[in-house]
């Protein structure tokens, strides 16, 4: 989001405090010196991670402090992971496999790439999953593990270290 605040000491902290108070994660703060309108006003771009339901409350609190939200860009699902599934994916209802993730509301399959070498042979597929947060991704992977067990897929998860 792009914020407009008074160019005086303590103003940036005043803008960032409500974000962290509400459990948001501040990823970066960019001072936009060139685009500053002047006359004691400062324009700042901040990239934050916050549960979407808290966003309206955050904007209200910023306004209470005299900070103007100029622009708001929202990427709902910012967390991305890629997994590989091996097995009889098509004949075990591929639509259902994808739905099990999509139905959660906090994660979805956004890309899929399939390799089907021959009829009756196992299919290998890459799924890209996006989620709201890292925790949601772990929950999505847990669901996928259950699906893999049930449909006898080999699930290859990414190593996060």
């Amino acid at each position: 989001m792009k914020l407009e605040l008074r160019d005086s000491p303590g103003q940036l902290v005043a803008a960032l405090l409500p974000i962290s108070d509400m459990g948001g994660n501040i990823k970066t703060v960019i001072h936009e010196h060139e685009h500053t309108p002047g006359q004691g006003v400062l324009s700042v771009e901040v990239v934050i991670e916050i549960p979407p339901e808290l966003l309206d409350g955050l904007i209200a609190r910023l306004r209470e402090r005299g900070i103007n939200v100029l622009r708001l860009g929202e990427e709902r699902m910012s967390y991305r992971q890629s997994v590989i599934l091996i097995g009889h994916l098509v004949h075990t209802d591929l639509g259902d496999t994808i739905d099990r993730i999509d139905q959660t509301g906090f994660a979805e399959v956004t890309y899929m790439s399939l390799a089907m070498p021959a009829i009756n042979e196992r299919t290998s597929a890459q799924f890209v999953i996006k989620s709201l947060t890292r925790e949601h991704m772990q929950q999505a992977l847990l669901i996928l593990r259950q699906v893999a067990k049930q449909k006898e897929f080999l699930l290859i998860e990414p190593l996060e270290f």
Binding site: I86, A115, P117, L154, I156, P158, L159
Partner: protein, 330 residues
């Protein structure tokens, strides 16, 4: 005075030890040796060149009336070096030999995963009661001194997690599938031809060997009390070459990774998608381990996980460290 060794097992590792003791002036003397069918004892030290020649010519190392059990119980030695084949189900007969030696008040060094994975707590208490040492560095990651490092050199650290490539055969197969586009079967056949895989590769490719190493790490480094059934194990035998190609498309590859997160009781071994530039992506039959600690930060270990000289290195390291600790009045 030279430290007297009794060797049980004359496979590749046993022969590696004998050669090293013969070639290097380490202050060690071998007073007893047993293979699966025979044994020999000489309180003044066995002539090692004759021993190796005899084994090569006749297939046995000595007198068929002398058993490994007899040696463990009655031969004169300071350290029992137990290198018989691993039995993952009950750890026998190795565990009995080790018990016999500890009860006699002799130190034990083993390269055998069975007794450590199954009976570490019992054997370690037995060693303590008898005021002797029980060491097993060679059981995990061959030449990499991982156990001593984690158990002693990083003392005072909380070791928060461990990730590792712990089976060279699987890593070789995955490397070849990724690099040359081989099928799983082709890569396995190649590994067999080169001697990296056993005639029956089940133990390696289904992940059992690497999972046993996770059990050893969990029970010794973190003093847990888990068994093989507590490890979530998936091998590499069902991987497809297409899966490796899909990983390649995202600049990643697939490796069989062991994972321990003791705080969450996670013990897992399974193929994982790993970025190609990740430090655990080592080539061929190498092993690699990363640990995360609170004081020392992240540490990476890479080295040969198998081979007669490499495993002998770990065994001899244990032997010499016991000797030096004893000399220090322990």
């Amino acid at each position: 005075m030279a430290v007297r060794l009794a060797l049980l097992g004359m496979g590749a590792v046993g022969r590696g030890i004998i050669q090293t003791v013969a070639e290097k002036d380490l202050g060690l003397v071998i007073t007893a040796v047993a293979d699966s069918r025979s044994g020999c004892i000489d309180p003044d030290g066995i002539d090692l060149k004759n021993l190796l020649d005899r084994k090569e010519k006749t297939g046995i190392c000595g007198d068929v009336n002398i058993s490994a059990e007899t040696i463990a119980r009655t031969a004169p030695y300071d350290i029992l070096v137990e290198m018989t084949p691993t039995d993952a189900k009950n750890g026998e007969p190795a565990t009995s030999y080790i018990r016999d030696a500890l009860i006699r008040g002799c130190h034990v060094v083993t390269s055998n995963k069975g007794p450590v994975a199954l009976h570490y707590h019992e054997l370690s208490s037995l060693a303590k009661e008898n005021n002797v040492h029980f060491r097993f560095e060679a059981t995990v990651a061959g030449a990499i001194p991982i156990l001593q490092t984690l158990m002693y050199n990083l003392g005072g650290n909380d070791i928060l997690s461990l990730y590792g490539v712990l089976n060279g055969t699987c890593n070789y197969i995955l490397t070849r599938m990724a690099e040359e586009g081989l099928t799983y079967k082709q890569a396995l056949d190649e590994a067999r031809t080169l001697g990296y895989a056993e005639a029956d590769p089940t133990y390696d490719v289904k992940g059992i060997d690497a999972a046993i190493k996770l059990v050893i790490l969990a029970n010794t480094v973190w003093k847990k009390n888990i068994c093989l059934d507590d490890v979530d194990v998936t091998g590499i035998d069902l991987l497809t070459e297409e899966a490796l190609r899909l990983a390649e498309q995202q600049d990643a590859t697939i490796r069989l990774i062991g994972e321990i997160i003791p705080g969450q009781n996670i013990y897992r071994l399974c193929p994982r998608i790993v970025p190609k530039d990740h430090p655990l992506v080592v080539q061929g039959s190498l092993n690699a381990i990363i640990v995360r600690t609170d004081l020392a930060g992240d540490l990476l270990f890479v080295g040969k996980g198998a081979g007669s000289k490499e495993t002998a290195s770990a065994v001899i390291g244990d032997i010499l460290s016991i000797r030096d600790m004893d000399a220090g009045g322990n």
